[in-house]
């Protein structure tokens, strides 16, 4: 099948590229750690073209990108849309990269400019575009990650959101704080473990006390010989429970929560929500970002009915 376009999710430290068919299915995929930080030195075009060559993409195949490539330090700035914002407006405000060898469009992120609640996202809005752009779409999206986002959506608009530093704090604390002695070189967390689920509940019930609960992991190792695996699980549970408690306090408990995540993070948050008695339907984050990028592509490069070779687009 001929490819229709290329989709890229370009994060701070990660790069993912897909060769897409017109029906929204991925024909091929590549991942690397050539995120924005890397590409800002190497050159965005160079990084992208090397992958496109490896994928044997035609020279005229157009590209749609979301994420940090659109930041001020990125390839071409795609300025934030201010919330409240309709998700489909992300496509309207996409920026075309000038001087590129092919048609390259970058989707903008979202900014919350209330001085009491400054916040930004780049990348997550495209996942939301894929799933919640419809006028009937409402609810609260929990999007775990280095910087977890909780996003309120009402009738296809993002009305407000908050970022929690859960993933980044986890990495720093596990690898560089005094707790590194307690967690050793463990790097997997059993989502069903008593240590993980107990810590989720502890932090949910006492989010203010998380700084003390964190230190208790080190003390538990010294005084009680707590093993590395359960120390790691406890650390993970405390930070996830803290995030859930904070978001519940901030966004209230009236909205349906949708968990937008994949892989390990999906399994951890899903287990955490279940253990707290919350029913949270899941949306695969990888699927969502592809759907969002394709929603953009189909507006930039409309596919006439019954066309399948896309030669008209890639000419």
């Amino acid at each position: 099948m001929n490819p229709y376009c290329v989709a890229i999710d370009w994060g701070t430290s990660s790069f993912r590229i897909w060769l897409m068919s017109g029906d929204g299915s991925a024909l091929a995929e590549r991942r690397s750690d050539e995120g924005m930080t890397h590409a800002a030195t190497t050159g965005f075009s160079k990084v992208m073209e090397a992958h496109l060559q490896a994928l044997q993409a035609p020279a005229s195949l157009p590209v749609v990108i979301c994420g940090m490539a659109g930041s001020r330090q990125g390839w071409t700035e795609a300025r934030y849309l201010t919330v409240p914002a309709k998700l489909c407006d992300i496509v309207e405000k996409a920026v075309r990269v000038e001087g590129a060898q092919r048609d390259v469009r970058i989707l903008p992120g979202l900014a919350q400019r209330d001085p009491e609640r400054f916040d930004v996202m780049r990348g997550e809005e495209t996942q939301l575009l894929g799933e919640f752009a419809g006028d009937q779409s409402s609810g609260l999206a929990c999007m775990p990650g280095t910087h977890s986002k909780w996003v309120r959506i009402a009738a296809g608009r993002v009305t407000e959101f908050s970022t929690y530093m859960t993933g980044e704090l986890f990495g720093l604390i596990a690898r560089q704080s005094i707790l590194r002695h307690a967690v050793g070189n463990i790097d997997t967390c059993d989502p069903g473990s008593a240590a993980f689920l107990g810590a989720v509940k502890e932090a949910r019930d006492n989010p203010a006390g998380v700084s003390r609960l964190l230190f208790s992991i080190r003390a538990g190792q010294l005084l009680n010989g707590q093993d590395a695996a359960s120390s790691y699980e406890r650390l993970s549970g405390l930070l996830i429970g803290w995030e859930i408690a904070a978001a519940r306090a901030e966004f209230g408990t009236g909205d349906k929560i949708h968990l937008v995540a994949s892989g390990k993070l999906f399994r951890l948050y899903d287990a955490a929500f279940r253990s707290l008695g919350l029913k949270v339907p899941a949306i695969d984050a990888d699927d969502a970002v592809l759907k969002g990028l394709m929603a953009g592509a189909q507006q930039f490069w409309p596919i006439p009915d019954h066309h399948t070779d896309y030669g008209h687009i890639n000419a």
Copy 2:
């Protein structure tokens, strides 16, 4: 004046040594970064004797030590006393270093063994010994640091305590998280600044939301051009406000708080407490540790009335 003994505060990463007179005043002082981590490799005796030589200390002068030199990874383990514990028992349970060239005693730390609240301290108990050992001493001590301690004292006993990772989290977040872009290379915080005091209040009022408030520092830089100095002040204020909120929730608001701190940390916490309307008398942490070490010394090596040359002790 002849020296009476040597006092050492041996932390994880810091080393302080004083040549003491029998009346409790310091005749000379040296500081270095030869903390436990360093000394565990170089050798504790070697590090100490080099400083004693520089101080021209007599070969038989005895030494009293507090801090991490008494940990399992330290020089000689001085096992934790379990709370509740009388502060003066720290002296009773001091451990003598075997095979040392002179009389060297290490004061033990304290452990809280309640499985719901595992916690440990090494060093702070000696500051408390200097100030709160009397039967009439009661209240709550706030001891800021890498791992801040809040300690409840009743009639000369430590009844309970908690450790907050404030200082360590501050360093990791300021230097290694995404917030490093917002705080740049700033390393001083004005305790009177609106950014610092505003953040103290914000975190005190919303301790659960601190993870989100932290990220808002980065967003404030991106969206509002927030400068590095106020970003740094805001980060400091959020973490200190969070600690105060957590400790107030945990220990209640009935006890008088004593701030045991020196230098920069004293100025920041003092300003924070004042801005929250809390009257918190101050105790200099450097003075307190010397008083505690001297309280130990005077029991190990009693000074007969009217003696001033201590030859009887150092013989």
